[in-house]
C-alpha cells in the first residue's frame, strides 16, 4: 500500500503545486528564524546571527531543489521545465525552427499521405466476417461479356455453371457469383425520397448483378433492411429488388431513413429497395467507381439492357468466389484440395457441354483446363493492381526524402551543439548531469519532430485528397478516404518520434560529451573549432549521404519522367491534337435500333455544322480506350490452321471516321458517307491484319466474315489503314483491327441460334434473341476541330441536347486527356518522383550550404591568418570549394552504384528505356554537381572576404 500512498500524495502535490511550494517556503523560513534565534541566545549580534544562519543554510533555492527531487513527481516537473526551456530555445531562433518544422512536415506529411493510400488500397481486409476464408476463382480483375470460349480459359463463367456451383459447393461453405462489371443504369429516385420532383433528370449509376447467395457467402450484413437472398434470384426478369450502397443512399436519396420498401426506377423498371449496406462495404470487387446498388442476376436483361443471359448456353459474364470451411482456410493442403475439386467440376462441365464424341486431343486439352483459386481476403481491386506498384515505389521515395530531411536537421543540430558548447559547459560546471543535458537535447528534437508531424498530418490530409482526385480521374466518388484513420495516425506518430530520435540522438550525445573545464577556459572561437575528428566527420558524412540519396532520387525520377514521355510521344497511329470524344448511350435514352440510322444521321449533320468543327463521325469505341470489341474473323482466300488465333479487334464506324480520327489510309479507300445501307457492305482493315493474312499485298477485294451473327457480313475489304494503339499504351505488339461500316449493319438479327465470337466490352456483341439489331447504335462521337478541342466541348453538349434532351453525353474528353487517362499511374509516379527529388535536392543544397557556411564561420580565425600571411582570395575560395568537391565526389562514388542497382528494381515500370540509361545518369550527376557548387560558392566567397584584422581582433 506504500506505493499507493506515495502515488496519491505525489499526484496531490503535482496538482497543489502552489500549496507545496508555499509550505516549503514557510518551513525554510521558520528554520532560518529558529537558527537565527538560537545564535542570538549564545550571544551573537542580530546581524551576525542572521548572516551565520544564512551561511549555514546556503542557497534556499538549492535546498528547495533537493527537497523536490526527493519525490517521484519531480520528474514530471523537470520534464515540463525541459520542455519549456526547449520551446524557448526554439522560439529564439525562429528561422531555424521554421525550416526544421517545415522540412519535417513535408517529409512526414508525404510519408503519411502515401501510407494512407497504401493502407487503404493494399492492406485493408474486406469488412466482412473471416475474410481470410474467401477465395476468388481466377484474378477476376477484368470484366465483360464473352462468347465462344471454353470454360476454364478465362476467369469468367456463364450463368449455368455459376448456378451449378452455387447448388453444389463441394468442399466450400458456399460459392457465389456476381456480374464481372458494373453497368451504368439510369435511376429515378422515389418522388417522396428526394425533394427534386418527378421531372428530375435520371441519374447514371453503376449497378452490380449478384447471385442470391452473394451476401450470405460474403457474410456481409446490411445496415438497414435485408440483403438479397436466393429466393430473389429466380427465373429471368423476376426479383426486381435492389440493395443500395451507403454512399448512393446518402448522396442521392438524402439518407432517407424510410427508404426500405420504397420503389426506385432503374432503367425504366420499378425496383423495390430492400436494404442499405454499411458505409465500408463496396462489394467483393472494388471498381474505380464503386457500385451504387446490387441487383439479383435474374434482373440481368433490365440492368444490361440485353437479351437474357440466364440460359443453359448463355455467355460468360460472371465472376465466382467461394468461402472455404474454417478448418480448411488454415491449411495449405486444403487450398490444393479445393483447387483439385474445382478443376474436376470445370472439366466435367466442359465435357458435358461438348456432348458425346470428344477427340483424344481435345480430351487432353480439357484435362489442362484450370482456373487458379486465389485468396481474396482483401477483395478484388483493379486500383490495387494498377497503382499498387506505383505506391510502393513512392513509399520508398518519400522515405528517402524524409531521410534527407533528417540528415539536414542532424547537421544543423550538430552545428548548434558546437556553438552551444559554452552554455553546456557552464551547465555541467554548475552541477547539471549529462543525462539531463541529453534528455533536454532530445526533448528539443522531439518537440521539433512532433510539431513537424502534426503539421505533416495536415499536409497529408491535403495531399491525400489531391492524390485521390488524381486517381479517381473525374469519377464523382471513389472508395478512398483522405480522412486519416487510427492506423495512419499511429504511423505518423511513430514516424515523428523515430525521426526525432534519428536526427536528435547524435547531436545530443555530441553535446553531452563537452568537457566543461577546457571549453570554459578556451576562447569562444577556438572552443568551437575544437572537438576532435569526430565532430568534423559527422557533418561531412551526412552531406555525403544526402548527395548520394539525391542522386538516387534524381536518377529515379529521370527514369520515370522519360518513361512517361516515351509513352506520350510514341506513335499512336492517329492524330492526337484537335480531337474531341464523347460517349453516349441512345438505348438508355429510349431509342429503338430502327431509329439509330436517323439519329446517327442527324447527329453527324448537326455536329459537322458547328463552328470550329472540321468533321464529325460516330463509332462504337474511340480510337483508344479501356474497352474494345473483339471477335474471331474469317477471310476469303485464307485457310486458318487448326486452332489458329483468328481474333481481331473490331469497330463499327460512320463515314468520315478515318478523316476525323486522323488515321491515314494506306491503300484502297476509307469507309465513306456514300456507303449506304443499300450499297455493297464494306470493311477496312489495318496494316497488321493485312500483312498477317495477306503478306503478298492482295488484301483489298477479299471478303471478311465475323463470327458474331449480328454483324456477320460478308464484308468486302476496300481499304487498308495505318496501325493504331487501341488499348494500353505500353503494348508494343501491333493489334489486328477491322472496321465495318456502321450504316450497313443489318436492321434485324439473323434467326439462327446462339452466337460465337467474343467481346471484352460492355457494348456487347453477343446475339440478343430479339428481332432488332442493337449493333446499329453508335456509342462514341468524334469531332475534329480547327482550334482547341476543349473549347468545342460546351457547344457539343448543347447541340446534342438540342437534338434530344434525354440524350446525355457522359465523359466529354479531348483525345489528349483520353490517352493520358490510360497512363495515370505513369503520370502519377513521374510527377511525384520529380517533385520529391527536387525537394530532396533542395534539402541537400540547404544542408551543404549550412555545413559550408558554418565551417567558414568556424574557421574565419584561421582564414584571417592565412590571408594576413598572403593567401590570395582565389586560394581561399578554392580551399572551401575543394572541401565540398570532395564531399560531392564521395557522394557520387557511393550514389552511382546505388542508383544503378535500385533502378534494376523498377525495370518493369520502364518503357522503351534501359534502367542504366547513361544520358540520364550524366544529367543527374551534372545537376547535382551544379547545385553543390552553387551552394558551396556563397560560403567560399564569404571566406575570401574575411577581413584578417577583424578576424584576429575578435579573439
Amino acid at each position: 500500500m506504500h506505493w499507493l500512498r506515495s502515488l496519491v500524495s505525489g499526484i496531490r502535490a503535482l496538482f497543489n503545486n502552489h500549496e507545496t511550494e508555499r509550505e516549503m517556503d514557510e518551513e525554510l523560513h521558520t528554520f532560518l528564524d529558529a537558527s537565527t534565534a538560537s545564535k542570538l541566545l549564545i550571544g551573537a549580534t542580530p546581524e551576525e546571527a542572521a548572516r551565520a544562519a544564512r551561511i549555514e543554510m546556503g542557497s534556499t533555492n538549492a535546498v528547495k531543489h533537493h527537497i523536490r527531487s526527493a519525490t517521484w513527481e519531480s520528474r514530471f516537473e523537470i520534464l515540463w521545465q525541459d520542455f519549456r526551456y526547449s520551446a524557448r530555445v526554439l522560439m529564439k531562433s525562429p528561422g531555424f525552427t521554421a525550416i526544421a518544422v517545415l522540412s519535417l512536415a513535408l517529409g512526414i506529411g508525404a510519408n503519411a499521405a502515401i501510407f494512407s493510400l497504401i493502407h487503404q488500397l493494399l492492406q485493408q481486409n474486406l469488412p466482412v466476417r473471416d475474410p481470410e476464408q474467401l477465395v476468388t476463382f481466377g484474378k477476376s480483375e477484368n470484366g465483360g461479356i464473352l462468347g465462344g470460349v471454353d470454360l476454364g480459359f478465362f476467369d469468367m463463367f456463364p450463368w449455368s455453371f455459376a448456378r451449378q456451383m452455387q447448388m453444389n459447393p463441394g468442399p466450400f461453405q458456399g460459392i457465389a457469383s456476381y456480374g464481372s462489371f458494373s453497368e451504368k443504369v439510369t435511376v429515378q429516385p422515389p418522388v417522396s425520397a428526394a425533394a427534386i420532383g418527378p421531372s428530375a433528370p435520371a441519374l447514371l449509376m453503376p449497378a452490380s448483378l449478384v447471385s442470391g447467395n452473394y451476401f450470405s457467402v460474403l457474410a456481409a450484413q446490411p445496415s438497414m433492411g435485408r440483403a438479397i437472398n436466393p429466393a430473389d434470384d429466380g427465373a429471368a426478369n423476376t426479383g426486381a429488388v435492389v440493395v443500395l450502397s451507403h454512399h448512393f443512399w446518402q448522396q442521392s436519396l438524402s439518407s432517407d431513413p424510410g427508404i426500405v420498401g420504397k420503389t426506385i426506377t432503374v432503367n425504366h423498371t420499378p425496383f423495390e429497395v430492400i436494404g442499405v449496406m454499411p458505409e465500408s462495404f463496396h462489394g467483393l470487387k472494388l471498381e474505380l467507381e464503386p457500385t451504387a446498388m446490387w441487383v439479383p442476376i435474374s434482373m440481368q436483361p433490365v440492368i444490361l439492357q440485353h437479351g437474357s443471359f440466364i440460359t443453359p448456353d448463355g455467355p460468360y459474364f460472371l465472376h465466382l468466389f467461394g468461402r472455404m470451411r474454417a478448418q480448411d482456410a488454415a491449411g495449405k493442403n486444403a487450398l490444393a484440395n479445393s483447387q483439385g475439386w474445382f478443376d474436376q467440376q470445370l472439366r466435367a462441365a466442359i465435357r458435358a457441354r461438348e456432348g458425346a464424341s470428344i477427340s483424344p486431343a481435345r480430351q487432353l486439352e480439357i484435362n489442362h483446363a484450370t482456373v487458379t483459386l486465389m485468396s481474396a481476403e482483401r477483395g478484388v481491386s483493379l486500383m490495387r493492381s494498377q497503382y499498387g506498384d506505383s505506391l510502393k515505389i513512392l513509399m520508398g521515395v518519400v522515405a528517402l526524402v524524409l531521410l534527407i530531411a533528417c540528415a539536414n536537421l542532424a547537421n544543423f543540430l550538430l552545428a548548434r551543439a558546437a556553438t552551444r558548447q559554452r552554455e553546456i559547459a557552464t551547465r555541467l560546471a554548475l552541477g547539471s548531469s549529462r543525462a539531463r543535458i541529453i534528455r533536454q537535447s532530445l526533448i528539443e528534437t522531439l518537440v521539433l519532430s512532433v510539431t513537424g508531424g502534426l503539421l505533416g498530418l495536415g499536409i497529408a490530409f491535403g495531399a491525400t485528397r489531391v492524390l485521390i482526385a488524381f486517381v479517381s480521374q473525374g469519377s464523382s466518388y471513389v472508395a478512398l478516404s483522405s480522412r486519416p484513420d487510427l492506423t495512419v495516425l499511429l504511423f505518423t506518430l511513430l514516424v515523428s518520434l523515430g525521426t526525432g530520435l534519428l536526427f536528435g540522438l547524435a547531436p545530443a550525445i555530441a553535446t553531452a560529451r563537452t568537457a566543461p573545464s577546457s571549453t570554459l577556459n578556451a576562447g569562444a572561437r577556438t572552443a568551437q573549432s575544437g572537438g576532435g575528428k569526430s565532430s568534423r566527420f559527422w557533418p561531412k558524412a551526412l552531406v555525403t549521404a544526402q548527395v548520394m540519396l539525391s542522386l538516387l532520387l534524381l536518377f529515379g525520377s529521370g527514369l520515370f519522367l522519360r518513361t512517361f514521355r516515351n509513352l506520350q510521344n510514341q506513335d499512336y497511329g492517329f492524330e492526337r491534337s484537335n480531337l474531341l470524344l464523347a460517349q453516349f448511350n441512345p438505348k438508355l435514352a429510349g431509342y429503338k435500333p430502327s431509329q439509330a440510322p436517323a439519329l446517327n444521321q442527324r447527329l453527324i449533320e448537326r455536329l459537322s455544322a458547328l463552328p470550329g468543327v472540321r468533321s464529325a463521325a460516330l463509332s462504337l469505341t474511340p480510337p483508344i480506350g479501356m474497352s474494345n470489341w473483339t471477335a474471331t474473323i474469317l477471310l476469303s482466300g485464307y485457310t486458318p490452321a487448326p486452332k489458329e488465333n483468328m481474333v481481331s479487334v473490331l469497330n463499327r464506324v460512320s463515314g468520315k471516321y478515318f478523316e476525323t480520327a486522323g488515321i491515314s489510309v494506306i491503300a484502297g479507300r476509307a469507309i465513306t458517307t456514300d456507303d449506304s445501307a443499300s450499297g455493297l457492305k464494306v470493311a477496312v482493315i489495318n496494316q497488321t491484319l493485312a500483312q498477317h493474312f495477306f503478306p503478298k499485298g492482295d488484301a483489298i477485294g477479299r471478303i471478311l466474315t465475323i463470327e458474331i451473327n449480328s454483324v456477320k457480313g460478308p464484308w468486302q475489304i476496300v481499304g487498308i489503314v495505318r496501325d493504331t494503339k487501341s488499348g494500353n499504351p505500353r503494348d508494343v505488339e501491333p493489334v489486328r483491327m477491322a472496321y465495318i461500316s456502321l450504316s450497313q449493319i443489318e436492321p434485324y438479327q439473323p434467326e439462327v441460334g446462339p452466337s460465337s465470337g467474343k467481346s471484352n466490352t460492355q457494348a456487347s456483341a453477343v446475339a440478343p434473341m430479339r428481332e432488332e439489331n442493337e449493333d446499329r447504335f453508335a456509342r462514341t462521337i468524334l469531332i475534329r476541330t480547327t482550334g482547341d478541342p476543349a473549347k468545342t466541348a460546351a457547344s457539343l453538349t448543347t447541340a446534342v441536347a438540342q437534338i434530344d434532351p434525354n440524350l446525355v453525353l457522359n465523359n466529354v474528353i479531348t483525345i489528349h486527356d483520353q490517352v493520358s487517362s490510360l497512363m495515370t499511374h505513369d503520370e502519377l509516379i513521374a510527377t511525384l518522383t520529380s517533385i520529391f527529388s527536387m525537394l530532396a535536392l533542395l534539402l541537400a543544397a540547404i544542408g551543404l550550404y549550412g555545413v559550408m557556411s558554418y565551417n567558414v564561420v568556424r574557421r574565419s580565425n584561421e582564414i584571417g591568418i592565412r590571408i594576413a600571411l598572403g593567401a590570395s582570395s582565389t586560394g581561399v575560395q578554392w580551399m572551401v570549394l575543394r572541401e565540398s568537391l570532395i564531399l560531392l565526389a564521395a557522394g557520387l562514388i557511393l550514389g552511382i552504384p546505388a542508383a544503378l542497382s535500385a533502378s534494376r528494381l523498377v525495370r518493369a515500370q520502364l518503357f522503351q528505356l534501359s534502367p542504366f540509361d547513361p544520358v540520364l545518369m550524366v544529367s543527374a550527376v551534372l545537376l547535382i554537381a551544379v547545385v553543390t557548387l552553387l551552394s558551396a560558392w556563397l560560403p567560399a566567397v564569404r571566406a575570401s572576404r574575411v577581413d584578417p584584422l577583424l578576424a584576429l581582433r575578435c579573439e
Partner: protein, 109 residues
C-alpha cells in the same frame, strides 16, 4: 581548511532522525540542533540534506508532519514518528550495532 564538524556518516542520517524523533515530535531546526548537541558538535546537519530526508521519510510513511505553534509562538512543521517509523528505527539500530561492532573488531584486531 580543517573541519571540526563533519557531515553525518553516509546512510545514517535517517536513523539519527528516527532516533531523535523517538523522544518527542520536533521541527526541522530543532532536529538539526538536537543532533548537533547530542553528538557534542561532531555532526552537523544542514537543511539541504535534512529537509529532503524528511520529505523522503514522510513519503515512505515513517514520519508524519503537522503544523504547530513553536515555543516563541510561530508556526512550524513538527515531525513525529509513525509505527512504521518506530519499527524501522528498531531494525536499523540493530543493523547498525552489528556493523559497528564488526568494524570495531576489525579496527582492534
Amino acid at each position: 581548511m580543517t573541519q571540526k564538524q563533519r557531515d553525518v556518516v553516509q546512510g545514517t542520517l535517517e536513523m539519527l532522525i528516527l532516533k531523535t524523533l523517538d523522544l518527542e515530535p520536533m521541527h526541522g531546526y530543532g532536529l538539526a540542533l538536537r543532533i548537533e548537541q547530542v553528538s557534542q558538535n561532531v555532526f552537523r546537519v544542514n537543511p539541504g540534506s535534512l529537509l529532503p530526508a524528511l520529505r523522503r521519510m514522510e513519503r515512505a510513511g515513517r514520519v508524519k508532519s503537522e503544523w504547530r505553534a513553536t515555543e516563541n509562538n510561530r508556526r512550524a512543521k513538527y515531525y513525529m514518528l509513525t509505527t512504521r517509523g518506530r519499527k524501522a528505527l528498531e531494525t536499523e539500530t540493530s543493523a547498525w550495532n552489528r556493523q559497528a561492532a564488526a568494524i570495531a573488531r576489525i579496527l582492534e584486531a
